[in-house]
Amino acid sequence: MALDAPLRPMAGSAGLPDRRAPGENFRDSVFSDRSLDGSASMSRWMGWRLRLLVAFALIGCVGLLLLARELAAPLHIDASWRADARGHVELVASPEPLLRPHIGKQLVQLGGQPLDALALQRSSRWLTDDAERVHHRDLHERLFAAVQHENVTLRFSDGSAVELQPHQRGFVGLPVMFWALCGLALVLYLVAMVVALAKPSSRNLIYAVMALCQAGNLLLIAVESTVDFGLPPPLPRLDMPARMAFDLLTAAAMVNAVCLHPRRLPGAGLIALGAWAVAAILSVLAALGLLAAVWWWAQGGMIVMGLLSIALLSWSYRIEPHPFAVVLRRFGIVTLVTLVLLTAAVALSADLTGASYATISATGSLAWYVFLASLLLLVPFMSRSQQVMREFSLLAAISTVATSLDLLFVAVFSLGQFASLTLSLFVSLGVYSGARQWILNQLLGSSMLTTERMFEQLYRIAREVEAHPERTPALLAQLLRDLFEPMEVSLSERQSSLTRVAGDGSTLLVPVPALSGDKATSRGSITIRFAHRGRRLFTHDDARLTDRIVEQLRRAVAFDKAVEQGRSEERMRLAQDLHDDIGARLLTLMYKAQSPEMEEYVRHTLQDLKTLTRGLAAPSHRLSHAAAEWKADLTQRLAAAHVALGWSCNFYDDLLLTVVQWSALTRVLRELVSNAIAHAQAQRVDIEFTLAADQLQLTVSDNGNGRNPRAWSHGLGLGGVRKRVKQLGGAVEWREVAPRGISCRVTIHDWSARA
């Protein structure tokens, strides 16, 4: 029995704080208080709790061994029996040589005591009739006494008699069933202890009561499984009251638990008190023998309290959509339905005699108890693993349905045992294979993000995070919202180091990672509550999934950054090489030029190269800076050519120009001014640059001798201008101005849209 495994979940799922008032929305403060309490008190309390737990475990084991020793002692006839269809006890097999010849015969007397099929019915809990129960008790007491002799005579229906010497069983002789059930009971007992010790709150104590009651039930069944004829003395009288009390107390505890968890309901105290009172009164009356039709009372009490629990859970979910309520209600319904089925089967088969009745009441009830016990074992681990819970609950539900169906077939259609078992197995397997996917989808939430969309989102967010690191929390919250469909998402300043589940699986706390490298800044955490619109619990699998997603996001961002840096380094290198190598060659070429035209041409090329390399090296240019440089550059050039410059530049918004915009505008301006100097022999050039209402207008006018622009041959220069303007999505036109000169107007609409 792993001691450390259950202790950890218990610290987390030890219940919500009891002090929470109805309607109060508990928040991070509560989690943090609790987690702080948890870590601080862990070391302080762990010591004595562990010791106490070990003590309890020892007590349990020693008690079990003592019990086994006690059960090994009574005398016993080594043979297996079964009830036949007519209600007689038939010998099936025996290792005793004396009994061998009598296999298949009906036993009518044992040690002088007459017996019937009821002798094989070990427990009186599932006997519907009071009179029958009294008979059962007397029969078992008599038979037990009869076997505890040196020699016992067995008389069969054909008149033959065998005298046998009963002997002690010994430990080895105890059936496997006994050990299995004892083991389960022990585990349940230990879990109850762990839960109670981990945090002795009222809620956990209630759980412990339920678990202990079911452990008691299992133990009684285990003890009864060891005997063939006649229960040892206290059992025949103790069995019914004890087991009824266990069942009713479990039901009452259940009612009490759902009153407090997942949230405290209005009037919780009264409802719980009522349930406990009903359970106690019924148990006491049954123990005193004052209750008629005890079985009906017991079953009725359980079913009514089960219905009440389910109603309370529905109510709780309507007040606050805690997914735990949904999960509990689901389990509650399965348990209750199987209980009702079992009750119906037992009640219907009460009229039958012999085999079928015994099978139904013994096997059916056993299956139900084991199911309930496993369910109880599961509850504390609910938020540990969605996978385990899902598979287990499916299997448990299906096997229980199979058993119930089997019993129902036997009871209602009087089918043979084998036939009904086969039939029910087939039916339930069919149901399992057919409904499994659907049920899994229901549990999982069918609208989980598909992997494809997930990746798309991941990379989109990675890019956005890179551009706006300050928006990381909001983007991550959006991703988590799509992933888990929670009802609430909130950001808090609190720091935590890793993703964790809080509030019994209703809440997931995700620390916001420092995705863009600056690890120093505190980013708080995201709290998401009520997964899948409050229909699903967060599990530790979800927490790990979130961690993995965050890790992927981190990698995507880092990757994007590396790519961007690589590109920029590559551009810089390219720019450097172009500038150094080609630039130097062009310079040499320019100095060696044969004619002024050639020299000017190469100079132009060199300037274009410089613009190109600068564009490569710098990703963007501020408009005001670019305009200042344009002006300084043009002033110098025009001054050298003794041309006057009229410069007017108007813009309201100091935009960032992209490389394309910057280099296109730079080259257009240079080209137009070159034309004015070289071809038009102008004395003055006027440049107007206006960027307003998202429209750029650039006019370059000269007073040179250019005329009739339509007739111009568009050589390299003007063609280049047209190309650049088209690249920016604009239009260019040349026209004559009075009295002389040419004006070129570049217009670009929707400037920012072209960026």
Binding site: L587, T588, L606, K610, H625, A628, E629, A640
Partner: protein, 240 residues
């Protein structure tokens, strides 16, 4: 007595072109020494000491930035006290390359791709004490003097004349020699916006040569403050 000029330039074609420019610019008798790399240049200059240099030093030194055995800036830094007019000749016109050169003590810069006449005019201006100052470099200067801190790496976007960079902590008010006068700041601001010297003179209501004096003063302050910074840095690192 002839004027001695040193031209450090690895490209022979460019070197002879620059020789022509120098000869065209000055009417004095000129003796030009050419150097293809830093090594030769250092040999030609001889030992540089704080004492007054040997008789007949170079009056004008043109240094290319990209040289086979190093960067021209190294030579400029070594010659910070050499009483010559030091001019950077380069193909790089961007402030990222030019500004460090000016910090190293260059008195001006010439862009090699400019036309012969332009170069002659520019060279004459620099020697007369009218160094060029492009808007980008004016922006860098503003940032440099406003920030007070050593200016390393490219200027961040938007840190131009709109810069509101806080003073570096642990550093008192900048000394007088590293602070610009309001007039100088004004001139720099206008320059950074692309105004010409004449326009600035008109705007400020002063003579154009006064604007020029401001620019010269700014150059000097940059040089001095850079040297002071280097000294502070060196003493911090235990080099001095």
């Amino acid at each position: 007595m002839p004027v001695k000029v040193l031209i450090v330039e690895d490209n022979p074609v460019a070197r002879s072109f620059l020789c022509r420019v120098v000869r065209e610019s000055f009417s004095d008798t000129i003796v030009i020494t050419e150097a293809g790399d830093l090594e030769t240049a250092r040999r030609q200059i001889g030992p540089v000491s704080d004492a007054p240099p040997s008789n007949d030093p170079f009056k004008l030194i043109l240094v290319d930035l990209e040289l086979p055995d190093g960067n021209g800036m190294e030579l400029l830094a070594e010659l910070s006290r050499y009483p010559a007019t030091k001019i950077v000749t380069t193909l790089y016109s961007d402030d990222d390359h030019l500004f460090p050169a000016l910090q190293c003590g260059a008195d001006g810069y010439l862009l090699k791709e400019d036309r012969f006449e332009v170069l002659v005019e520019e060279l004459q201006k620099i020697v007369r004490g009218q160094p060029p100052l492009s808007p980008a470099i004016a922006r860098r200067l503003l940032t440099h003097f406003r920030g007070g801190a050593p200016d390393s790496g490219p200027t961040p976007l938007g840190a131009g004349f709109l810069s509101s960079r806080p003073m570096a902590l642990g550093r008192g008010a900048p000394l007088d020699h590293e602070r610009l006068t309001p007039r100088e700041s004004e001139v720099l601001t206008y320059l950074s916006k692309g105004f010409t010297i004449k326009e600035i003179a008109n705007l400020m209501g002063i003579k154009w040569f006064t604007v020029n004096d401001h620019i010269k003063s700014i150059y000097k302050k940059l040089n001095v403050s850079s040297r002071a910074e280097a000294a502070v840095l060196a003493s911090k690192q235990g080099l001095v």
